[in-house]
Symmetry: C2
Subunit: 424 residues, 2 copies
Amino acid sequence: MGIKEETIKMKAAAPYLAASSVEQRNKALLMVAENLRANAAKIFEENKRDLAAAEEDHIAQAVKKRLKFDEGKLRDVIKGIEQLVALPDPLGKVTLKRQLDEGLVLNRVSCPIGVIGVIFEARPDALVQISSLCIKSGNCAILKGGRETTYTNRILFQVIHDSIIDAGLPADCMLQAEQHSEIDELLSCHETVDLLIPRGSNSFVQYIMNHTKIPVMGHADGICHIYVDRDYDPNKAIPIIIDAKTQYTAACNAVETLLIHRDIAGKFLPVLAKALKENGITLRGTKEVTDLIGGETIGEQEFKEYLDLIVSVKIVDTVNDAIAHINKYGSHHTDSIITENAETAELFMQMVDSAGVYQNCSTRFADGFRYGFGAEVGISTGKIHARGPVGLEGLVTYKYKLFGCGQIVDDYATGKKEFHFKDL
Amino acid sequence: MGIKEETIKMKAAAPYLAASSVEQRNKALLMVAENLRANAAKIFEENKRDLAAAEEDHIAQAVKKRLKFDEGKLRDVIKGIEQLVALPDPLGKVTLKRQLDEGLVLNRVSCPIGVIGVIFEARPDALVQISSLCIKSGNCAILKGGRETTYTNRILFQVIHDSIIDAGLPADCMLQAEQHSEIDELLSCHETVDLLIPRGSNSFVQYIMNHTKIPVMGHADGICHIYVDRDYDPNKAIPIIIDAKTQYTAACNAVETLLIHRDIAGKFLPVLAKALKENGITLRGTKEVTDLIGGETIGEQEFKEYLDLIVSVKIVDTVNDAIAHINKYGSHHTDSIITENAETAELFMQMVDSAGVYQNCSTRFADGFRYGFGAEVGISTGKIHARGPVGLEGLVTYKYKLFGCGQIVDDYATGKKEFHFKDL
């Protein structure tokens, strides 16, 4: 059966999953945790097959590290599931209860989005995390993992799928796609799939965004900025910059561009140059920067997402110039200001049009776990629906339920009756 | 200057509008109301030019009625503006305040979406209503009205634009597009425009959705259902059906399809046929319906949005069959069940995947004013972001502000520090 037919079945199953009780969904999650533990040896064995294939294919060390699924990662995903079970039900929350008139009551109630397609990178723990979030939020999920984790994903999916069936949830509410060709088929399912969450490289996410009518949640690039203000604290600036660049260089929330206030450039730039050098970071900058401290000269329109130990540097005249640069060249992900001046910070955080606006801390904090969300399905740079790190809240929508006893609109249009709004 | 260049200027103005105080935005709204009143004679005069042109073009009576902008409509839009002024500021609301660790505080704060393009039908009052909602919510707006209201829209826009400038808001935060050709240019501005809200015919909205990368909020079609359950109250069913079909036949929330439970079909269908006939409504139905009460026989896959005095009728065996039909053939807009059985109603309202799910009342209640939202920019059948009638709440998003004092992620990754989440 093709993906299209599968998603039609899934769409039909979605209301049944949506109607399941939180007890049932939590039971399924606990069974997933239990069965992952019970099948640990088999899972590690399958993971070794993926690792051996990666070895043969000379896959980069960083990727191999993400690919590995060992006792430590198993413990982490099981802990994550248990945390998720402990969270309150995101469904059925009444966010508005209003009497429109005698005997006519409007409720706005949270409900699942429906059918979600997740296409993710070579991280087996991501498969478990995303499935768990979808189960808790009552969403059907189509999961497409990376080719590099075929064997690990297959057994993980099998364990999860068996568990949800045993827990009494509809079998059709979860599906694994294994072929790369199935991605294009999935992109055409706008009649059955409500949301796509792609996680991967900039070009991959761009491709998804440009080839589907399904709403896409996520981010293509992460060009994060740190602006060092005139009123900066030198003891904070350097450690934050080094952390934001080196703590996980390939992450979307790593810093790529530094903006330095002109008044402090003469004093700060040599210190910065020294720190960058000590940490193996290559400096690129506009001419006035490289004139001062060396490095390759580039124009600001060449500043980009390096995902590498390289950073772009530019001098700005005012905080407003920094804001204008970030809004023009940034990717609306996460940007930080280093300043002791609360007013300047407030202006920056108000005017920068990004999901995360920080004062005096590393851009690397942009993450669902670090925000205390428990887990995330991804980080959104879109402004429609969820923004920033997205946890359970981003996986639900709402519907309006209106309870009447025979009311017709004509009575209100003709003035025979009148609305009497009263929030209950 | 082309639309693209205009939206670039608008994007640059957006943070300044976002940073404006609610006093400033309310002042602008009150000046709009005052200046509309002061220019009433001129506005009515321009509207007469549009009406004369409509007369010459033999435009349909229903359209002419919407086109007319008279003392009554002026009073309504001014009343709407005053209501909007009275509403609390939708911006700067802190929806999450969490200490992540000592001296590291995360705030989630509501903010405008940014730049919104609204393309709407020939209703001058819609231009005022939508502009007002954008001003209150701090969003820049590009407004494209129907050709039929060129003169009226031009003067209304002039009055509104002058008012916001006088109130000290950025001149670039509002723009009127007049040429039909400018729509395609607007659709290509995905780098500067954050959201499109098209209001108009099914085919027009479909065209917009299929020709842009900008997120679109709204609805193409409205195939609303009424399901008459076995446990229905005959005194409620007929008035609700007649209201839902005739109170405003061309509206998206008018009913198009009736589903009747088999157990009551023999008794209810003749009564229905009589009522439809008395109200000038043409009946179409599946063979077993027309065998019983006449009318044109059509298959359920031919049921559609008529926007006319025509209704499709089908017999279903169970409430689950009704739900399955609605989820398969409906447009996820608004669907109503007529039943005295609370359990059946709950099942229907839980399982039907629509923005509005009603019990014992007319589908025509799906409307921002009737929900007590004051005004609406449109009704959304999408499930991402806003759903159902969309007022101020659907025009805002949020950003995460993180206040630190030098925190770096590495300290938490290496275990030197630990997160201590505490909601404040």
